[in-house]
């Protein structure tokens, strides 16, 4: 006898359908994997190809992203796709040729239509018996071998691209090295800035400008993404700004000031001094002015003459100080103690001001040196990577890159520029920032000539004396009737250059500044600027 409707076999049907539904989901997911795997792998291939065209950090990670998205999509499709028991029954009926038994049974379960002939229980029993015989293995688990083959082919290409050397990796390594060097140099510049801040007069406007420039440079280097050109440009810009704050005659002024201080101190104490600071010199002037009433006229005249001579020596370095010394000399010559004290105070103030200026200039020079060091460090960081790249990429591509025995920084400049111009097989390294900079003094315009430099060699330099820059020129003249020395102040004619031979370390900065200024004004082609910078880096006597 068939079961009645009250003895419905459906409780047995639904769990079985749920189980088969899970297998259906799994099978559908498997088929989706086979259908779409080639597409995911194709995206991986495209990412890897893009990473070979443009530098892409973490390229393998980026290549895994589409694969992960694809996998997530497959999982979501497999387990979250709506698949009701009715849909499962329909699909099982169609796939396993069950003649719509299961779907009809599910529908009849909730049917309230009259069934006078008791067809429903019979149908439900028939469907339940069929469901009990269902096995997951009866489902069609076959997948398209053609699509699987496509996926395998694309996956092979993707794996090949993953494991084959990528030329962009060298660029990325180079960028990372430059970035690390930029960070390091930012810290070094911070130290230089702190030193400048602590060693100079806080009221100086130039000091504030210099600090601001250094701050800007630190921020720029810290944010540098690995662009060597940008880092060098930032450095050059800051150097140019600092250069504007620097005085070309700072060294001469410092020397003159030291000499003046020593002589003033010796004059006051009556014994020669190897060195003395400006504070002692100022104090010596005060003592000289105070001792004026006790001096006889000849001693006053001698003292005045000495002061005049010191003023003349100082005039080239500091006109204000020279003027105050002349005033003091005149006061001494006149025997006016009050005026002498007043003039001595003025001269003491001028000395202090000159000392502060000298301190600032020294600090600026130190900052410039720090920037130069940073430039060299950055250039070397890019250079090392570029060499590695060049070696990797020029192998088997012919000769032609410059060969020579480079002399490192702080060594005697004995670089031999024996590079061969031209050469077959251009390299990527040639186009990279910092490329072909191997620490040699290679002159790009004369590649076959050895460049010889010497730290202490004498070198032609324009006269940095009082004629330059329109500085006032003080020339000792005849004495007046009152015994005063006539001082004629005139402007030196421009272009009247007095040639001389000086140690090149004294003029190096001038030439380097001129070169930097030319580069800033684009007087030097961009592709040669690195050579120029390297040239001066090699010549740097520090």
């Amino acid at each position: 006898m068939p079961t009645t409707k009250n003895e419905s076999p459906l409780p047995d049907l639904r769990p079985r359908l749920a189980t088969m539904g899970r297998y259906l989901r799994l099978r559908d997911g498997l088929r989706l994997v086979v259908r779409t795997l080639w597409l995911a792998m194709l995206v991986v291939v495209l990412v890897e190809l893009a990473a070979r065209t443009w530098p892409m950090a973490n390229r393998h990670l980026w290549a895994l992203v589409p694969l992960g998205v694809w996998l997530l999509g497959v999982l979501l499709y497999t387990w979250l796709r709506p698949l009701s028991l009715y849909a499962v029954a329909r699909r099982l009926d169609a796939e396993l040729y069950l003649k719509d038994r299961l779907a009809t049974a599910l529908e009849l379960q909730d049917s309230d239509r009259p069934d006078p002939l008791a067809f429903y229980p019979r149908q439900l029993a028939d469907a339940a018996a069929m469901a009990r015989r269902l096995k997951p293995g009866a489902l069609d688990w076959q997948v398209s071998r053609q699509k699987l083959g496509w996926a395998a082919a694309v996956a092979t290409v993707a794996l090949a691209l993953v494991f084959l050397p990528n030329p962009m990796d060298a660029i990325l390594t180079h960028r990372a090295a430059v970035q690390a060097a930029a960070q390091q140099q930012a810290e070094a510049i911070r130290a230089a800035r702190n030193e400048l801040e602590s060693a100079t007069d806080p009221t100086s406007e130039e000091r504030a400008q210099a600090l601001a420039e250094l701050e800007r440079l630190m921020a720029a280097l810290a944010a540098n993404p690995g662009d060597l050109d940008q880092a060098l440009a930032d450095l050059a810009k800051t150097q140019a700004q600092l250069r504007e704050l620097q005085s070309p005659a700072a060294t001469a002024r410092q020397s003159a000031l030291d000499q003046l201080a020593a002589q003033l101190t010796a004059l006051s104490q009556g014994e020669s001094q190897a060195s003395a600071d400006t504070a002692e010199a100022g104090q010596a002037l005060q003592e000289l002015a105070a001792s004026l009433p006790g001096l006889d006229p000849s001693a006053q005249t001698d003292l005045a003459d000495t002061l005049d001579r010191l003023a003349a020596q100082t005039a080239a370095a500091d006109a204000d100080l020279a003027k105050s010394l002349v005033d003091l000399a005149n006061a001494v010559r006149n025997g006016s103690a009050g005026e002498a004290l007043q003039a001595a105070g003025a001269a003491q103030g001028a000395l202090a001001q000159a000392s502060q200026n000298a301190d600032l200039q020294e600090a600026l020079a130190q900052a410039q040196n720090a920037l130069n060091d940073s430039r060299q460090q950055l250039a070397q960081s890019g250079q090392a990577q570029s060499q590695g790249q060049a070696q990797a990429q020029t192998s088997g591509q012919g000769q032609g890159q410059g060969q020579g025995q480079g002399q490192g920084q702080n060594q005697q400049g004995q670089g031999q520029g024996s590079g061969q111009p031209g050469g077959g097989g251009g390299t990527t390294a040639n186009q990279l920032p910092g490329a072909n900079r191997t620490g040699r003094a290679n002159d790009p315009t004369q590649p076959n000539r050895p460049a010889v430099t010497g730290q202490l060699d004498t070198i032609y330099a324009p006269n940095a004396g009082p004629h330059l820059n329109g500085n006032p020129d003080f020339v000792a003249g005849q004495e007046t009737e009152q015994g005063q020395t006539l001082i004629r102040e005139e402007q030196s004619p421009q272009g009247n250059i007095n040639p001389s031979l000086v140690p090149y370390r004294d003029v190096y900065q001038t030439y380097a500044n001129a070169a930097a200024e030319s580069m800033d004004r684009d007087h030097i082609p961009v592709e040669w600027q690195d050579y120029v910078r390297d040239y001066f880096s090699q010549l740097d006597p520090k």
Binding site: R90, D93, A94, K99, D100, R101, A103, T104, A105, E107, L108, S111, R113, D115, P116, L117, A118, F119, Y120, R122, Q123, D126, A127
Partner: protein, 329 residues
Amino acid sequence: MTNPAFTIENFRTTATTIEAAVGEVIVGQQALVRHTLITLLAGGNALLEGVPGLGKTVLVRTLARVIDCDFSRIQFTPDLMPADIVGTNLIAEDEQGRRVFRFEAGPIFANLVLADEINRATPKTQSAMLEAMQEQSVTVARTTRPIPAPFFVLATQNPLEMDGTYPLPEAQLDRFFFKLNVPYPSVEELVAIADRTTGRDSRDLKPVADGPTIVAMQQVARAVPIAQHVTLAAARLTRATHPDDDHAPDVVRRYVRYGASPRGMQAIILAGKIIALLDGRYNVAIDDLQAAAYPALRHRIILNFEAQAEGVTTDAVIEAVLNTPALAA
């Protein structure tokens, strides 16, 4: 149920017994026998199309003998009148000698009627026959007389000799449950026919069912449950035979002038129920509908002139419809 002793489980047994009994006489033609039986159990009427001599009359006669029912054969001719089919009132004397009208029933009053070459009668006569088929009753002189159940008409028409015939209009064709093509026997079947009909042996057929059993089976068949999606598939299938339907295949759009009527869908579903029972199932499957689609729809699809000119048959159109993927959704 007319026969309370009949059970659902007996349906398949009885039907296959009838089928086997008919098969003892009819050589081959299994599909024809199966579809004829389905039409009988569905309470419908069948139109057989085939050349003469293929055993159509034998089929009906054998079937009538197997199910122990009355059988009559009407040979349709152009001069056949409606009264010759349904019967007429005759003047007769009653027991007291008075003259009264007495109804003389025509050959339509039988359980199984063979309307041979129905397309040779005039439309008026055809319509009288078709009215009886549809209503299962006859009205003569304002008196309606029911035809005893089961009532099964098997009409035939010869596709070759069409001169001087009156082809059945579409509306009347629609009243046939199935249109069955009678194929020509194969060589082996011809040999078997020769052996059975030219020798001395004669088959002694015994009834395996009766009229009430057939009526009970008809009621059982209508009670078979059908799922909603199966009914929907039948509706889509029928709708797809119309050239203006969204899911109609190109063949339908190009060659069909008018698609199947709702009666076609009813025939498909009812036949599907019987096929399911014959298959031992208690539910209708979409496969059952597809199996019934050819005989149920081939006379309900009206082709256009282009199809006739190109020799496209309705079976080809039905095949195209069945292969439409949207119908299985």
